[in-house]
Each structure stands twice: as C-alpha cells, then as structure tokens.
C-alpha cells in the first residue's frame, strides 16, 4: 500500500551532460535511471505539511493552520536493473501517530505482489498487508497529503510516450518542456491523463511538473525548490504541490538527508518495526551521516 520509498528517489537527480540531440525518452530515462541508482541507500527526515490555500497579491498562502507530519525513512534499490526496492518509514509526528511504521518491498516484475508490513504503535503488533499485484493497485495518498504514490513513482518510463513540447528559458533556467502520455495500462490505474515536466537542461532536475485529470483539466502542479548538490547529485529539498482543483497544497521538506549510507542487513525487515532499541541504535548511526 505504501510506496513512500520512491518519494525520495525523485528528489535526487544525477547531473548529466545536456545533449541537444537527445530525444524526450532519452532525457526522461536518463533522469529516471539515475534516480534509481541514487535511491540506493538513503536516510531522510522530512516534513509533510498540508493546508487549504488562498491567494494574496497572487502569492499562494495557507488559510488555515497546516497539518504537519514528520517522518524518517530509509530505502535501497535491488535487483539487476536496481528496479526492485525496499523501504521503511517511521512516523515522528503527530503525537497520536508517533511510532507507526511501514515496511514495503516492491518488484519490477508486475506479476509479483507488493509486500508491506504495517506496525501500529497503539496496537503493538505488525500486520502483513496484502493488496494485490500491480494490476490491482491504485494510487494512494502519501501520509494523507496531496502527494500520491503516483507522483513519486520511478522506473515507470516504459508506461509513457514522451515528446518535447518546447525548450528555452524558464524563469532564468534553460529547460525542456516534456509531455508524458500514459499508455493504456497506465491510464487505467492513473488519475492523470497526461503529465508535463519542466526539466532543467543543465542539472536534469524537474523544476515543475503538471498533472492533468481525465477531463484534461489542470489537476496538480508540483514546484521544486531549494535545489542542492550533494555527493555530486542534484536534489530538490523543497517540493510544493498545488492541487488547483481543491485549493489544497502540500509541501515536502527534506530536513536532513544522508546519501549512500550502508544499511544493516536486518534494517529493512520487520525487526525495525518492533525492536525499538535496535531501530534507534541503527538510526543513530545513520543520522550521524546527515548532510
């Protein structure tokens, strides 16, 4: 059910040499492939905030106290193409949800069911969650925010047809504007009819993504800010998603991040969900590597 792990991979983008002759698919595949390589061994502490927004002097602002969730998560990529993944997310806030943990294994092989385990701290018990194979999956919300698992997926470039719509200067940066049209299989499970990407030519970072609903109307706009280079990789530490149809926004801020950490073999297993001492000990070790 949870695909939180894929979230972080989108933040991490490997720079590549911009080549004028590159076609849309090559660009998107390059971005995606590098994302997967980067997501291999990452610890992140992040904050997800959501609120209803209004406009004042054309600027977006919350009109109500935002609802805040904070969490720590770890992920690694596996398999031949590094297309399988394992991840774990532990909630820190709000207090009522503190300690809830979610462990997820996903597989590139569509016939293989996603495996996940949920730990509710109020119950003190791990539940294995079986929710069907890819065909049976639907995009779900990321911790109740406007971000959905679909916004955060990677390794799915085969499911889209890409074309460059425009290129040039966008807000002071040279970009490609690329349209992604889902194939039939993707369209059936997606909430979007098409996605536009504004890709920074120099850094291979999306600066903006727009998703359109089934009626072709603008649905969500994601803006990527605070783009930093860590370990030679470019990543956006501040994502803002505007759901223009419901006037709700969510921000995802990376408070702390450690790339390319070495994870204990047991860490991405059920033990981390229940063994508090083990989990804290391992996390302490990893936190020391925050950049």
């Amino acid at each position: 059910m949870m695909k939180a792990h894929t979230l972080w991979s989108l933040l991490l983008l490997i720079p590549a040499l911009a080549c004028a002759s590159e076609d849309a698919r090559t660009i998107m595949e390059k971005v995606d492939a590098q994302q997967r390589a980067v997501a291999d061994g990452t610890l992140t502490r992040s904050q997800l905030s959501s609120c209803k927004f209004g406009l004042k002097d054309k600027a977006v602002a919350c009109v109500e106290e935002p609802r805040v969730k904070r969490m720590e998560s770890t992920s690694r990529q596996l398999g031949a193409d590094k297309k399988d993944s394992q991840s774990i997310a532990i909630l820190l806030e709000p207090a009522s949800e503190r300690g809830i943990g979610m462990l997820t294994y996903t597989y590139a092989d569509e016939s293989k069911e996603t495996e996940s385990w949920l730990y509710l701290s109020a119950l003190g018990r791990v539940k294995r969650m079986v929710s069907g194979a890819a065909e049976d999956q639907e995009p779900v919300s990321l911790f109740g925010s406007e971000f959905s698992t679909e916004d955060m997926e990677n390794g799915k470039t085969d499911e889209y047809r890409y074309q460059i719509l425009q290129e040039g200067d966008y807000d002071g940066t040279q970009v490609w504007v690329i349209e992604g049209l889902p194939n039939e299989a993707r369209l059936r499970k997606s909430r979007y009819s098409k996605i536009y990407f504004w890709i920074d030519k120099a850094r291979y970072v999306p600066l903006k993504v727009q998703a359109y609903d089934k009626r072709g109307q603008l649905f969500k706009r994601i803006l990527f800010r605070d783009i930093q280079q860590l370990d030679g990789l470019w990543l956006a530490r501040d994502l803002t998603l505007l759901n223009v149809q419901t006037s709700r926004l969510s921000t995802m801020r990376t408070e702390a991040i450690a790339l390319h950490v070495t994870l204990d073999d047991d860490f991405l297993t059920q033990r981390t969900l229940t063994d508090f001492a083990y989990r804290e000990r391992e996390l302490e070790r990893l936190r020391a590597q925050f950049q």
């Binding site: 602002a61 079986v130 069907g132 194979a133 049976d136 911790f143 959905s148 359109y212």
Partner: protein, 856 residues
C-alpha cells in the same frame, strides 16, 4: 362607477369599428410584431430545467447542498441493478459478463473505446463500483488482505467462486449495495461528475490552445506558503446546474451499452437515480407536448363542431398562437430564463384565448341571428362581451401576478409570462379579431333558418324556470355538496411521491419497488456534520455518537432506511480486522490514540475517496442514509425527526465543539424542501389570488353583493377537486397545486361573463326571471361552449404516463364542468333566493328613475 361602466361598454361597442378601415395595416402590424417576437423566441429563448433553478440564489437548502458537494463530491449518480437470467450473480457467466460490462464502460470512460465514443456522455462517469472491483479487507491471523473481489483474478472453478461469495458475504458494506441477500440481483454504482462541473464552461488549462509553456506561473510561491495569511482569497468553484437533457443524453448512451446483446441476453437491467428519473420526466414532457397538440386538435374539432365555420377555427387559433408567441417572445427578448412550466403558460393562454374568442364569436352569431348586419352584430357582440373579457383578463392577470409573491424564481417567471400572455390574448381579441372577422366571419345566412346547434338552446332554455321553481332546494343541494367536500378537504394530504406518480407496472415503479425490496433503495439522505475543529472526527466520542445515531435511525425506520454509512463504520470495521477479525471489536475503541491510528490507513487511501467521507482536517463528515422510496409527506416527517434526534445526540458534545453545525442535506432533502416550499407558496399565492379576484369582482361589478355571490361558483370548482381528492384519498401533489390557479382562472372567466350579462339584463328589466332567462340564453351557450372545449381538452391529459398530469386532467376537467354547473344552476338559484340588487337602485337614481319593485 356605473357611468364609468357604461362608458366602458360604449368603448367596447365602438372599438372594433375604429380599426376596420385600417384592417390591412393592422393585420400587417400583427404579423410583423408576431414575427419579431417569434424571432426573439427562436434566438433568445433559454430554458433551465435543473432542480436548482427552482431555488433563489443563496437559498439555505441549496447553499447546504452546494457546501456538501464542494466538500464530499456529487451525490448524483446512477445505481444500476442487474438480474442475471441464471439467477446467480456469482455464476461463471454472470461474473464474466459483469467483467465485460465493466470493461465496456471503463473503456468509454477513459476514452479508449474508439473515436465514436470520444464525446460520449459516459465519459462523465468518474467511478464504477460493483462486485467486480469492490475492495474487501479480511484478516488471516496477522495478515490483512485487501483485494478487489473479482478484478484481481477471475475465479475459474466453482469452489473458487464460492470462496469469493463467502468473502462478499463477510463484507458488511457489500450486501444490498452489490448483491441482494439471495444473490439473484447485483448492483453497479456509477459515480458521475453531475453537478460538479465548474460553471462558465470548462476553464482553459493554462497549457491548452498554443500556450507558452515557458511563461511565468499564475500562482506564485512566496518564501513560506505555509505561513497562515489572513485575507488570502480562496477561489470558490461555482458548479453549473445539471440540465435535464444532460441526464437524458447520459441515459441514452448508458442504455446503448446495456442493450448490447452480450449484456442484455444475460442481464435484465433496472436503473435508479436522478438520471433515469429525469429521463422519465423528459419522456413525460415530450408526451405532454404531444397531448397538448392533441388538446389543440380537440379544440379545433369542437370549434368546428360548434360553429361550423373554418374561420371560427382559424382565427381563434391564430390569436392564441399569436398571444403565446408575444408573451414568450417578449420575455425571451427581456432575457428571461424559462422552466418546463412554460407549457403551462401555453395551456393557460389557450384556455383564456379560447374563452375570449368563443364569447365574441358566440355573441356575434347571436346578434346575426337576431337580424343585425355584420358590422352591427360585431359592435353589439363586443359591447356585450368586451367588459367581461376585460374583467376576466384583469382577474386572471391578478391571479397570475399573485404567483410572483413566491420566492421560487420559476413560479414568478411563470406568473409574469402567463399574465403577459393573457394580456396579449385580450389585446388581440379586441383589436385584431374584429379585423379578421371583417375579412372572414363564421356566420352564414343559411344558419339562420336552421341553426345546427339547436340541441344546446333547448337544453338551456328550461333552466331559468327550473331554478325559479326551487331555488332553495338547488342551493341546499349545493350547500350539502359543499359540506361534504369541506369534510374531504380536511382529509387532504399534500404528498408528492415521484415514483407513485408513474403508472402501475411502469418501468419506474417496477424498478423502485425492486430496488427497495431486494437492494438498498434508490434514494439517499445525507446528514452533514461540521464540528468546527480540526481532528474532531478522530475523537472516539464523536465517532461513537455517529454510530449510535446510525443504529437508532436504522432501528427506528426499518421500512425506510435500508442502510447507513459513516466514518464510524470504517473505524469499527478496521478495529475488528486489526483484532484478528474478532467480531467483539466491531466498535469504536475508547482509546483516542488507537482511533487515530486506525484512521491512519484511511488517511492514506486516495484523497478523492477520503474526501467523500471526511474533510481533510477531519472537522466535517456525514452520515449517508440509503432510503427506500416514499412520499414527501413521510420523508419530511422522517427528516424532521432525524434532525431533532441528531441535535439531541450531539448536544453533550457541544461544550467541546461550540461551533457545531448539523444539517440534513442531499438531492432528496433539496427536493423535499422544494416540494414543501412549493406547497406553501402555492397555498399562499392561491389565497392571495382569491382575495385579489374577490376585490376586483366587487369593484368591477360595482357591488359587494355581486362580488361575493360570484365568488361562490368560483370557489366551488376548487373545493370540488381538492375535496374529492381528499375523499378518495388521492394525495395533492405539487403538480396539481401548481395547476390549481389555472383551473380557478378558467372557472372565474365563465362566472364573470355570466354575472356581467345578468347585471346588464337586470338593470334593463328589473325582473329577475327575465334577466336570468336572457343571460342563460345569451351567455349560457358561450359558457357551455368554452367549458366543453376546455373540459374535454383537459381530459386528454388523462393519457399521460405521469399521473401528476393525468390527475390534473381528471380533476381539472371535473372542476371545469362543476364550474359550468354552478354558473348555470347555483348562481341563478342564489340570485333567485337572495334577490341581490347589484346596485341597480343607485344606478336608476342616478338616471333619475324610480326603482320599480322587484319581481320574482
């Protein structure tokens, strides 16, 4: 006053002659103006047939529904019940065909079904839910399994299918929604965007139509968008009202799919929801316009039968059509938006126009038979009928204007347009009909020797004598009837039950009876709860209150409430699943932390689904009650009781949630509110119309006595219709209430003609018997003609599939004949008995003559 009336009579005598020298310019002007109005009608006419158009902007009931929809999405979809021929929704054949149907609808919805489906109304489907894709949640030890019942893997063998059946049986929310208890019926819910499409057309996506994708954004992010900013404006989306033809188009497209042999060979389908209801309403309206055409044909036939002249058919019809075009055209030019009540406007204009013309034509023939030449006969006919026609025009217009006190915009529009039409009919009768008659008139010399309608006069002639012999007996008989009808009136119930207004055995009735019996009912009510504080719906006390209220409502109204659902059900179900499926845990936990964590899973569902049940900040939620069909009377009672119960149960929480707001809402509640409102509005405007008409009658007839006496036969038809309905136990529905003023209008017309004639004759002769004889002889025929034409015309409506209209046909036509009988019998009897002076003394004094003694 009397001299004014004499002058008015003189005016009407002269009026037709004035325009005769200008007959061609007058005709030309008439056709030119009609052309302009027709153009206005064709180019500017706009029709709003949405339920919402019946509400004023900002009406509380509509605002509540808008708030509900803005928060929880459209509650307006289609619920499709299917009955497999093999009697089992879990048979291999049934499951495979259900999957195929899902696929067919899903492909169209997603635009994958080919070019011809790109514009299909079925693309408005947002979700399809049935046994095929219903997601279940079960616990096997510490494993939670959540899968789509069939879509994940089609069960091939019988044991596999039985296993799925067992799973379905264990899911509380599946039963009655997706399958009947005996598995002979299945249900498919189609969630649509009905009522959720932003108004003002589809907004242009900022990347559409050759956009510059590199241009700056319209929404800027400040340094910290999370900073709560006072005065930031939230764009509130306005949704376009659903029009009836949108429902019709949707149903046509849906039926085209379900009627494909691969589905219809195995399934029988039943459709419920607003869309099929509106489809039926549209069908009824189309049929009604056919019936209206038939009514016009009957009018044509009767006009021909009674006058034996083509001119007596063509001229009245031209005038009536002209008045209708003028009224609707003028209103269209003024930018008025019409509702489906526009057909009633046409009916009223038809009724009033026929009466006007028949009185003139009948008077004209009468005077020709008495030996006057064409122009003199016309002058005399207008002298006799002009004033009563003016009076009937004024009273009917007043009655129609009384409708504008209604705060229902559509009824106001109906009132004003109809008043305009009635005025148009008057103007045309006065100024254009003479010109037309001068060109071509119905009287033939040979008719003089052998009038063909000799059958009527011998029937009318004995009436004065009969009345003269036993006036009190007649009055007493009518009084007794009055008394009986009054008793009936006390029994009358205002109750609109849409389904029961369709004929026995109709698709609509069969469907709703079935859905009520075997599935979860075809109606729905929403209890909207706004606690005004974030996370309120994570509070176990709040969830427990929801659960208790649901349990109470289900136990208290088992006949009406088939099922209820709220966030509390979700929490209780999850609690059970999380506790190894132990049924003891199917309840709200007392621990707030555990409740919050059970909701964590729900929180992570897709936001669109979550928002259908609870607002993002968990401050607002709702209970959905699935209701079986009933009438507005019962629904209104239940709604009132449930609202009170809701207030009572939430009262203890008010200290913690002082901003709490509790409201029943939903399309059904809106409809009930509307029906209730229409009933009261109609009763109010009906009373106002009666009062206005009485005052006008008193003023125009120049005597309080005359005014009051003529009100008696005016009231009787309404008393008769409503009293009879009460006695027969036929509920008074909103349609009948809306048409009531129309019937009164027709009844009033005849009485005014009668009393005005009588007064003239009475002033002239001072002899009641003679005056009555003259009146019945002269007006009786015209009054009988109009009553026959309209009474028979109205009976055509009996053939309507919609009983609301059929009832109006039966009781309306009965009312017209009762009005005729009271004009011919009761009114003369009252006059014979009470011997009213009607201001004759004053009249004679003014003329300087002594009033002779009254001769009975």
């Amino acid at each position: 006053m009397q001299s004014v009336l004499s002058r008015v009579n003189r005016f009407f005598e002269l009026a037709p002659g004035v325009l005769l020298p200008l007959r061609w310019p007058v005709l030309l002007l008439f056709f030119a103006l009609t052309g302009v109005m027709l153009y206005g009608m064709l180019s500017q006419f706009s029709l709003d047939m949405s339920l919402e158009s019946w509400f004023e902007e900002g009406a509380p009931a509509k605002r509540n529904l808008d708030r509900f929809r803005a928060q929880f999405g459209s509650d307006d979809g289609v619920y499709l019940v299917y009955a497999p021929k093999d009697g089992d929704v879990f048979s291999a054949d049934s499951l495979q065909r259900l999957a195929a149907l899902h696929e067919a609808l899903e492909s169209i919805r997603l635009g994958l079904a080919g070019a011809e489906y790109q514009q299909s109304p079925l693309r408005r489907i947002e979700r399809i839910d049935s046994l095929y894709n219903a997601r279940y949640l079960i616990a096997e030890g510490d494993t939670l399994i959540s899968r789509k019942l069939i879509a994940g893997a089609m069960p091939q063998a019988a044991p596999e299918r039985e296993a799925r059946r067992a799973i379905a049986k264990g899911q509380e929310t599946f039963e009655l929604a997706y399958y009947s208890r005996d598995f002979r019926y299945g249900g498919i819910r189609l969630k649509t965007d009905f009522g959720m499409v932003p108004a003002g057309g589809v907004q242009e996506a900022d990347t559409a139509a050759a956009p510059d994708l590199l241009a700056g954004d319209d929404l800027l992010l400040g340094s910290d968008p999370l900073q709560v900013t006072q005065g930031a404006e939230v764009s509130e989306v306005q949704y376009a009202n659903m029009q009836m033809d949108e429902y019709l188009d949707f149903m046509l497209a849906l039926r085209a799919v379900t009627e494909r042999p691969e589905f219809s060979d195995h399934f029988h389908f039943y459709f419920t929801g607003n869309a099929p209801m509106m489809e039926f309403a549209m069908h009824t309206m189309a049929q009604a316009s056919g019936l209206l055409g038939l009514m016009v044909l009957i009018v044509v036939g009767l006009l021909w039968l009674l006058f034996h002249s083509l001119s007596a058919v063509i001229w009245p019809l031209t005038l009536i059509l002209g008045s209708a075009i003028w009224a609707i055209g003028a209103a269209s030019w003024l930018g008025v938006t019409f509702s489906n009540m526009v057909s009633l406007t046409f009916m009223l204009i038809l009724a009033v126009g026929i009466a006007d013309c028949v009185h003139v034509l009948s008077g004209y023939n009468h005077f020709r038979r008495e030996g006057h030449d064409h122009r003199r006969a016309m002058a005399l006919a207008y002298r006799k009928t002009g004033l009563p026609i003016l009076l009937t025009t004024v009273t009917t217009m007043a009655g129609m204007f009384a409708l504008t006190v209604s705060d229902i915009p559509q009824i106001g529009v109906f009132g004003v347009t109809s008043a305009l039409g009635v005025l148009g009919a008057f103007v045309l009768t006065l100024f254009v009909l003479p010109v037309m008659l001068d060109i071509w008139h119905p009287y033939r010399e040979r008719n003089r020797e052998k009038p063909r309608h000799y059958w009527l006069q011998p029937l009318l002639d004995p009436i004065p004598e009969l009345v003269g012999r036993a006036p009190r007996t007649i009055v007493v008989v009518y009084l007794l009837l009055f008394g009986l009808l009054l008793a009936g009136l006390t029994q009358i119930r205002v109750d609109s039950n849409f389904v029961e207004l369709t004929r026995e055995g109709s698709d609509m009735r069969t469907t709703y009876a079935l859905v009520d019996k075997v599935m979860m009912g075809g109606q729905n009510m929403e209890l909207m709860i706004d606690l005004g504080r974030p996370d309120a719906f994570k509070d176990p006390r709040v969830l427990a209150t929801l659960a208790a209220l649901q349990a109470h409502v289900e136990a208290r109204y088992p006949a009406y409430v088939a099922k209820s659902f709220s966030l509390a059900d979700y929490v209780a179900d999850t609690n059970q699943v999380m506790h190894q499926d132990n049924p003891d845990y199917r309840r709200i936990p007392d621990d707030a932390r555990l409740t919050a964590q059970l909701l964590y899973l729900f929180d992570n569902a897709n936001p669109e689904d979550r928002r259908q049940l609870v607002s993002d900040d968990y401050s607002r939620s709702h209970i959905s009650l699935q209701m079986r069909n009933a009438g507005s009377y019962e629904y209104t009672r239940i709604f009132t009781e449930v609202e009170a119960e809701m207030d009572r149960r939430f009262a203890p929480l008010r200290a913690d949630y002082p901003e709490m707001q509790l409201q029943p809402t939903g399309s059904l509640a809106l409809m009930m509110e509307l029906l209730d409102h229409i009933s009261w509005t109609q009763v109010k405007s009906f009373s106002l119309a009666l009062l206005t008409i009485t005052i006008l009658l008193v003023l125009s007839l120049g005597s309080v006595q005359a005014g009051l006496i003529s009100m008696v036969p005016n009231l009787l038809p309404a008393f008769f219709s409503f009293g009879l309905m009460g006695l027969l136990g036929v509920p008074l529905d909103t349609d009948t209430l809306v048409i009531a003023p129309l019937i009164i209008g027709i009844a009033v017309d005849d009485t005014i003609h009668f009393v005005a004639h009588y007064r003239d004759a009475w002033y002239e002769h001072g002899d009641i018997g003679r005056a009555l004889h003259a009146t019945i002889h002269e007006v009786g025929q015209a009054v009988t003609y109009t009553s026959l034409i309209l009474g028979v015309g109205f009976t055509v409506l009996i053939f309507s599939d919609y009983l609301g209209l059929a009832k109006t046909g039966i009781f309306g036509s009965a009312a017209i004949f009762v009005a005729l009988s009271s004009d011919l019998l009761l009114l003369p009897a009252l006059i014979e008995w009470l011997k009213p002076d009607l201001g004759r003394k004053r009249y004679l004094q003014r003329l300087g003559k002594a009033a002779p003694a009254v001769k009975a």
